[in-house]
Symmetry: C2
Subunit: 405 residues, 2 copies
């Protein structure tokens, strides 16, 4: 038994070494073996053995730096290693209430193509959503002369309460059913693995890989669209909580017995800042406010209409209070406000940030940095693809590890 434990320890170390080496090559872009050894503190001999395996598996490739020039002059050229983009075709999808935005990337994260698949309805049966996803992936691959079966894995981001570790959806506004084994459903319909996560977590992943979170081990992302979401990165990992549905922000309570939320509870942040909440407030008998047009309401507020201004003003104050609470609890170094809809500009204003500061516990040191980062659905999809690249890398390395035994 001691021997088994011992050899499994060695296998664990080898597997950890593979992850380290692959991640180092990915972050560096291209890097020589000796520099991998320096950066990872894995021995040069082990780096050589691991890179040889990864080359055989087709995950990385050798390139000569400077296009091979100067190699002769200085003796043996230092061959660099780089991720082999062609190793895998990966997809990322963001489901909104209007469409499935799809991006195709290679294994190195370079965009290969993208596609927007309209949804038949904002809320669907799990089977219908599966069909939409299949259609989106078929169209996206066909458009770039590839086949859907070329895909190695797809990351999918949805709003809602999702246990990513189980590919399980407790609840999503995109589905007409609760507690859906959506991972199983997708994997019977599609010939490659699918990785489902809450969309705000995938924005956090996108910020970590391509955005404002690069090089930061700990930060919080607040997403502002129809609802508000949150992704938390602690120690370089997405924080998920015990049941997989941590980092809830839209349904934290900002008012005891407050406004009714579409979730059925009272006083949720979303019941004050969500589209429907703003329009609901404007719904006063005899009022001249536009009832179903948020952008018109917002224009009125900008133009100085007192009632419209009051609606957005309270929403901003409630949002500031919720954000300050998250800062009080996490004391993060960086908060990124991420989203696309201009309608939510009222949440990005200096007065909102001032209120956040006023509600944050005061110590005589700088407050956490708050950055605003606006981007579109395609970037959310890219976060989904980045998540899928990680998962496909992990399973490839696990397959290599299976050969160790």
């Amino acid at each position: 038994m001691a021997d088994n434990t011992r050899s499994s320890h060695i296998a664990d170390q080898r597997e950890a070494g593979r992850h380290q080496v692959l991640n180092t090559i990915r972050s560096a872009g291209s890097i020589a073996r000796i520099d991998i050894a320096r950066q990872t503190q894995v021995s040069p001999a082990t780096v050589t053995a691991i890179t040889s395996e990864l080359l055989d598996a087709g995950l990385i490739e050798e390139i000569e730096p400077n296009g091979g020039q100067g190699a002769a002059k200085r003796g043996r050229p230092r061959v660099a290693l780089t991720i082999r983009g062609d190793a895998h075709l990966i997809a990322g999808i963001k489901i909104t209430d209007r469409c499935a935005t799809t991006i195709l990337v290679d294994f190195d994260g370079n965009t290969v193509g993208d596609h927007e698949e309209p949804l038949p309805s904002p809320e669907m049966t799990p089977k219908d959503l599966t069909k939409v996803i299949k259609r989106a992936l078929t169209s996206a691959t066909t458009a770039v002369g590839r086949d859907m079966t070329d895909i190695s894995g797809v990351g999918i981001g949805l709003a809602g309460l999702i246990d990513a570790r189980r590919n399980f959806i407790y609840w999503s506004p995109s589905l007409d059913a609760r507690n859906v084994e959506f991972g199983h459903l997708l994997e019977t319909a599609l010939p490659f693995p699918c990785f489902i996560d809450n969309d705000a977590n995938l924005v956090a992943k996108a910020e970590q890989k391509f955005g404002e979170g690069r090089g930061r081990s700990d930060f919080i992302v607040i997403t502002i669209e129809k609802g508000v979401g949150m992704g938390i990165v602690l120690n370089n990992e997405i924080y998920r909580g015990g049941r997989g549905c941590g980092a809830e922000f839209g349904h934290i309570k900002v008012q005891l017995d407050g406004a009714l939320c579409r979730c059925g509870q009272r006083g949720c942040l979303e019941a004050y800042v969500g589209d429907y909440a703003l329009l609901r407030e404007a719904n006063i008998p005899g009022s001249t406010q536009p009832e179903n047009d948020l952008s018109a309401l917002y224009k009125q507020a900008k133009a100085g209409d007192a009632m419209a201004k009051s609606i957005f003003d309270r929403a901003g104050r409630m949002f500031a209070m919720g954000l300050a609470n998250v800062i009080n609890i996490f004391d993060p170094e960086l908060v990124i406000l991420s989203g696309e809809q201009m309608a939510y500009d009222f949440l990005y204003g200096q007065d909102v940030f001032e209120r956040v500061r006023a509600n944050t516990v005061q110590v005589d040191t700088a407050l956490p940095e708050i950055r605003v980062h606006k981007w579109g659905d395609l970037m959310w999809a890219k976060g989904a693809a980045a998540y899928a690249i990680e998962q496909v890398s992990n399973s490839t390395i696990q397959r290599l590890a299976a050969h160790d035994a």
Copy 2:
């Protein structure tokens, strides 16, 4: 340079191995070398080398299992290793508004003695608090026939905003000054290292080592005394946040522009559930409520007085809302409500727990477990001592590591 990196990697591994071995012996109570190797997956040869160092350093000792009986029958006896209690005398102190509760423990965590040192005033100058601490440690050691200079390290828990990593106090109700380099102050006055932390963090440490958090990698502790505090354990570590003042609970906002808090902000949870907040509400002209006697107010409420009941009822509802928000954000497996004062029983009631449930985002799986764990100041002090044992172990191992170079 590659060689330096490589050898520093080996040194890091050796240091990590020492921590692993010492922690394994500490958790096991007593354990044979071969079992340490099995549990830690460190090689038997390395375990032998490390335990020999730890024996030389006097941190551990050998004992024969079963008092040496049966050894002859079955060949070479398996000598077990155990923490050498005499290795270090460690102190833990909890500062309240009344006294400095001190515990002395040996390096194995066994209680050696305890002492209560009254405070001249709830709020003191940093120098005066230093004197109180020195007096407490002198009395505690003298009472057990030891000398204060025998102590190897002391952990100190205070309410307030504290950066434990820097031994720095941003603010504490026990001090009349802000931004105090209290660690420096203590270390000029005392001949051993001091480790300062927020008191709720040290309760979390106590729960982890001796209480309801044993064997749990992730949990949240809410402390209820004069104020409310929070300690968060994630992945077996106390979560501290970017500036060291994370896990704030008493000053999260539960009401926009709400009741004035003694921190100067409005709507803080403490401004609804703290002693002063409850008494303030009772302060109505012509009212028969006792103005400065919380226990009398509580008795009235228990006896059915409508106004007194209403005061505790709202406090309970605000508390439930704050606790539900923490659960929504962290989705923890376990929440421990920890405290001593019976006056706060109204926060531990089933109706409060029902309200927490009603305000937690609903998914079709069990809600986090909430456990109530009542204990006194001595247990808080024991958490401080546990923290000091960890820190003293770490610095001893760092000294061993210095010999590696």
